[in-house]
Amino acid sequence: MSKSLKDVIPVGHIYIKDNILEKDSLAGVSESKALWAKDLNLPKKAEYTFFAACGYQHMKYVEGMMGALKSASKMGMGMGKVVGISKAFGKVGVDLTGITAKITASKDDPYTPVLISAISVLRKLGLDVGYLHEEEPCCGSPMYYAGFEDDYAEHSRKNYEIFESFGVKKLIGLVPACTASLRDYYPKYIEGYDLEVQHVLEVVVQKLKKTGVKPKVKENVKVTYHDPCQLSRYLELTDEPREILKSIEGIELADLDPEQCGKWSTCCGGGGLEATHPELAERVGVRRVEELLETGASVIVSNCPACEMQLTKVTKKLNANVKVIDLVRLLDESLE
């Protein structure tokens, strides 16, 4: 006999889906998503519309959320077996709403500055960029990956109406998964979808070439690059980040073996896996970080909030003497 939803679908995914449908935010916090932009004077209407997504803005909450889900899974179930977690919640009397109320922002928030850097970089390169502020919807992609295709399709159509109502024509995405969702999945569910979607790295590479700007870091540094799966195998952007890194004076790129980077890069285990299989996610992360450390680089550059959260956590756990930095932040610091 067929089981009900919460018996077969990991509760972490159901929880995230409900957050998106009810609060239009991955982490389900009602704090404005647009706070980061309050001093930036970003118009709602411009040639390009920046899509900030939940990722960086609410990441400080996601860390708390993952922690809550992890401890809840530990309470109820054995190692890695988190599927029946909702039953366990029932048994030990855990109240998910209570957990949500306890989710607080971590004081140390390296994520929002990435959004500010993205705008700063685009402006330094002469682009006219806007942002929908409070009106920007969550793209809904976590629902897609959790298997809630119908909810995602419906959500995408609602979002398209929002974009249309603001006259959006060209979107620039920053979070790889959300950008892939807007570029590659929305057209499958929306008739006549006509938004031009680009990832910020594509735009940056074109502009760097056109303007001949030469970025430069203050101190020479050896970095390695971790390709986020969503960027390398979904958006298929593996040359762009490397071109950008190589264009920065003072940066030495120590890339991994070809079978561990670019389109063959190993997954770091960040993202959805953490909500359902935290121990496995950690082991996957350790294996990836060990690969990255072999390059001898002192900085791991990446550009995905999920990867950065995971890599930061794992490098700390391993006491590795290495920093994790977002490519966009690095670029912002290297541009006049």
Binding site: K6, D7, K263, W264, S265, G269, L273
Partner: protein
């Protein structure tokens, strides 16, 4: 979603699995693989097929196998080069949709509250 639509999705999934050569080139490169076949791409495909086609294996175990995939598509890249065209990562995703739809068909959906 009706029963016939669910059957259509099931067919699409099992057709994909049918195209798998079982060459296992995807196994070692799957980031969640730690020695057990069921933790790998090809293992997941096999479990999907057994469950959807023959009703074998428990729904909970299948769910655990499907949701322990990071959807990183590393397997799919390898498989694409071998040109078997079975899109393993997308097939795993579709199998998740199958589980969701099957559960939703049960009509539990609107009363669903967690916990």
């Amino acid at each position: 979603m009706s029963n016939s639509e669910l059957a259509e999705l099931a067919k699409e999934i099992t057709d994909n699995v049918q195209r798998c050569w079982k060459c296992r080139m995807c196994v070692e490169m799957c980031p969640t693989y730690e020695g057990w076949f069921t933790q790998s791409t090809a293992g997941r495909l096999m479990a999907i097929n057994l469950y959807i086609k023959h009703g074998l294996g428990s729904e909970e175990d299948l769910s655990n196998m499907l949701y322990s995939c990071t959807t990183c598509r590393r397997c799919q890249e390898r498989c694409r080069i071998l040109s078997t065209d079975c899109s393993p990562a997308d097939t795993i995703l579709k199998a998740r949709q199958y589980l969701v739809r099957k559960a939703e068909l049960k009509g539990e959906r609107n009363h669903e509250q967690i916990p």
